[in-house]
């Protein structure tokens, strides 16, 4: 048995935190060596491979460099992944269930003729996985009924395995040397650029300078009750005081207060920070699906009947425009005291 892990990176040498969580899931719960596949093109690829080689648990890094892989487009990537799976015959093909993983993995599985298991939150054994269904209102344990050697194509929810990744990163085993890096066999890249494929035309990806929503330790989420995009600045200030990320409910995104990528919920991002603060969010099940695994949940809402208060560890029934400025002030005072002490 062995696992082939698809590595997500930004093309500039930085490996996605979600991939570290997936590596942690594999090294803890799947048998055999853990081989990582880094795909891309350009100067930064070697440094990406080097940082993957240092990830705890990774035993080997395969490097696939080809012009068709410069952008993470599903058609050439899935072709490559299916070729590697056919040649190397890993028992598991793994990726993080991010936008990229969700886009790529099922297509690869179809090319391999195998049914994938996506968004796994628990690995019970090499054939048995737990995944949320119905917006997290139930958890299904599913098991492959097909006999090996069919490759198990699995994507894992990063927040479910993030703690292991963080622990491994903070205390790497003493004397560990990086895994070897080796290019994939040239025939695997043969005519990859000729695959009928979408053409990448551009992106609008803003960097807020805040931690990434999916892996932030603190997440401050706002709902429609914020009333405007301008009022979200208040939440940004609170998030910055706490070193956290800003998220939003679907209602706030649909109202145009914040961009789509900040949406937390069943169809948006799933977050599980140490501290979640929901401001003016009523708590539709679709939103709760995206945050109820947070360690500590705070809800600020002027409606005592808001459903979010039933999952909150600390519920404050108060007008947000009164509560949030005061909370910012108190958090700032704490930080100043800590700074001067």
């Amino acid at each position: 048995a062995s696992t082939l892990l698809f590595v997500e990176h930004n093309g500039e040498g930085k490996v996605a935190p979600a991939t570290l969580a997936a590596a942690s899931a594999a090294s803890q719960f799947l048998p055999g060596p853990l081989e990582a596949l880094v795909c891309g093109f350009g100067e930064a690829l070697a440094s990406t491979a080097a940082s993957v080689a240092a990830v705890p648990g990774v035993t080997k890094v395969w490097l696939a460099s080809d012009p068709s892989l410069e952008r993470p487009v599903a058609e050439p990537l899935s072709k490559l992944l299916s070729r590697i799976a056919a040649k190397h015959q890993p028992s598991h093909l793994l990726a993080a269930s991010t936008a990229q993983g969700r886009n790529l993995l099922p297509r690869t599985a179809a090319l391999l003729g195998t049914q994938p298991v996506t968004d796994v939150v628990k690995i019970l054994d090499e054939n048995t996985f737990v995944r949320p269904i119905y917006a997290g209102n139930a958890f299904a344990t599913v098991q492959f009924s097909t006999p090996p050697p069919a490759v198990r194509v699995v994507s894992v929810r990063p927040t479910a395995f993030a703690a292991g990744a963080a622990a491994a990163a903070s205390s790497p085993p003493a004397g560990a040397s990086p895994a070897p890096v080796e290019p994939v066999a040239p025939e695997l890249l043969h005519e990859l650029g000729d695959v009928v494929s979408a053409r990448w035309e551009g992106q609008d990806v803003r960097s807020s300078g805040r931690p990434e929503l999916g892996s932030a330790k603190v997440v401050v989420c706002g709902g429609r009750a914020l009333k405007s995009a301008e009022n979200f600045a208040m939440l940004e200030e609170l998030a910055d005081q706490l070193g956290g990320a800003v998220g939003a409910s679907r209602a706030a995104v649909d109202a145009g207060f914040v961009p789509n990528d900040l949406q937390v919920g069943q169809t948006g991002k799933v977050v599980a920070p140490d501290l979640y603060i929901g401001v003016g969010i009523s708590g539709a099940i679709q939103h709760l699906a995206g945050m109820k695994d947070s360690r500590t949940i705070v809800a600020i809402n002027n409606d005592p009947e808001a459903p979010i208060l039933s999952v909150a560890d600390y519920g404050l029934v108060q007008d947000l425009f009164t509560a949030v400025p005061q909370l910012i002030k108190e958090v700032r005072e704490i930080k100043e005291q800590a700074g001067s002490a």
């Binding site: 487009v73 058609e75 179809a110 958890f139 649909d254 501290l275 949940i297 108190e330």
Partner: protein
Amino acid sequence: MKVLVAIKRVIDYAVPVRVKPDKSGVEALIPKMSMNPFCEIALEEAVRLKEKGVAGEVVAVSLGPQHFQETLRTALAMGADRAVHVSSEACGLSAQGGEQPQPLGVARVLAALAKRENAGLVLLGKQAIDDDCNQTGQMVAGLLGWPQATFASKLEAAKGDPRVRVTREVDGGLEVLSLPLPAVVSADLRLNTPRFVTLPAMMRAKKRPIESATLEQLGLSAADVAPQLRTVVVEEPPRRKAGSRVADVGELVRRLREEARVL
């Protein structure tokens, strides 16, 4: 250009569900079934393409038990020209046993239908809100060897243009892809707002035929749609212990520091 739209029938999004006592699956607290919201968005987009003269015909297709035909009728009422139903019972999936076709099986049926219909575009929802799999569109594209654009929030197409331009929702923002046709596009929430189905449209749809297709006609066998995964058990999510109310921001901050130790 012909547009194929995949339709799934699910427990209505607003109906609460609970795990069945025998832990074999979930059940709805109120028996209300609807078209999967993302399928509705995909269908709306197809109908708009037809209204703009880009699409010639919109065909709604579904693999499922007999009662899925009701949802296909809603699709006709929303503006689909034709509806094709592939019976899952006839595929050897028993309705009583609760055996659902899995995404790979569904994708094989959809890919075969897309070929048979000579579709130029396959539109699907990005995920169904029951199993939350988010797989079928990607698998249809892979099986057909067609380009894909998942999680679409904008679709730009012109009559006779051999390409479509799709804006997709990705982590961190948006991405724009240009796809040569034929292609597969999966719809995200913000692609459009589906129209309401009017009663007269529903009445007219009741009189229209729903076509049937069998696996044999599609060149598939029961093995192609047989589930590869077995559901061992379905369980309730772990409950959070009841939290408490705080009187003011001062108490909140104090308890976050002293009890929760997160400040």
